[in-house]
């Protein structure tokens, strides 16, 4: 299993704070995971399949799209940060 978290605008629009997914082909790396999520259609497709800038973190560090996932990983998706 991997844990997937959503923050800010994403969390609100997707009405999802977090979920657990099986680790398999469709969640092998972050880019695969994004494809899987966009396949859910509607807002999921708009957010993960479109032009929107979505940042990803792997185990609480900013991650690149091609980073491989392993059992127990925590992946987070969120819009560009606006703190400070």
């Amino acid at each position: 299993m991997i844990k997937v978290l959503y923050f800010a605008r994403l969390r609100e629009e997707l009405k999802t704070e977090s979920e657990e997914l099986e680790l398999d082909e469709s969640t092998a790396d972050i880019i695969a995971l994004k494809l899987k999520l966009s396949a859910r259609g509607d807002l999921w497709n708009e957010i993960f399949g479109g032009d929107e800038t979505v940042m990803a973190a792997l185990n609480q560090e900013v991650a690149q799209s091609d980073e491989k996932l392993k059992e127990g990983d925590e992946v987070a998706f969120f819009p560009p940060v606006t703190g400070g």
């Binding site: 923050f7 800010a8 973190a57 609480q60 969120f78 940060v81 606006t82 703190g83 400070g84």
Partner: protein, 152 residues
């Protein structure tokens, strides 16, 4: 090096933090601090309230990394980064970056470096409430430019 990094729902009290940073250390010659405040106006609209969300765990790691990087680049005697989350009203401090050193040049550079990186790398998100609804704040292009200055 005294280092303190904190994310808190409680009101941020900058002066208390600066006093704690100085901690009666008679070797400190310079304290530079940045206080980011909630404005009642943004992108042409009056903003009555703000909610700050963050990614617990990642936030602290990101801030630690930024502060450690600053400590590696400059000779500092103390650094404090305190960031608010939750609901804020206009005039409320959002963030304090306070840096102490023997001489001013290093404190200035480190303070600006830390806030520039925080703005682009620490997972905080602002949501503004206006008279006619609320909206998530968009990332500012100028923040990316501010960060890029340090990469040389």
């Amino acid at each position: 090096m005294m280092k303190e990094i904190r994310v808190q729902f409680e009101t941020l009290e900058p002066y208390k933090e600066i006093d704690a940073l100085r901690a009666d250390n008679k070797a400190i010659g310079a304290v530079v601090n940045f206080i980011g405040l909630m404005r009642d106006f943004n992108e042409g609209d009056t903003v009555s309230r703000m909610t700050l969300e963050h990614y617990p765990g990642m936030t602290e790691r990101a801030l630690e990394k930024i502060v450690d990087e600053a400590c590696g680049r400059w000779d500092l005697m103390g650094v404090r980064v305190i960031h608010r989350v939750g609901d804020l009203d206009p005039l409320d401090p959002i963030v304090l970056v306070a840096v102490a050193s023997a001489h001013r040049g290093e404190a200035f550079k480190a303070c600006e470096f830390i806030i520039d990186y925080l703005k682009t790398r620490a997972p905080f998100w602002k949501k503004e409430r206006m008279a006619d609804g609320e909206r998530w704040v968009d990332a500012r292009h100028t923040d990316d430019e501010a960060e890029a200055r340090w990469q040389s």
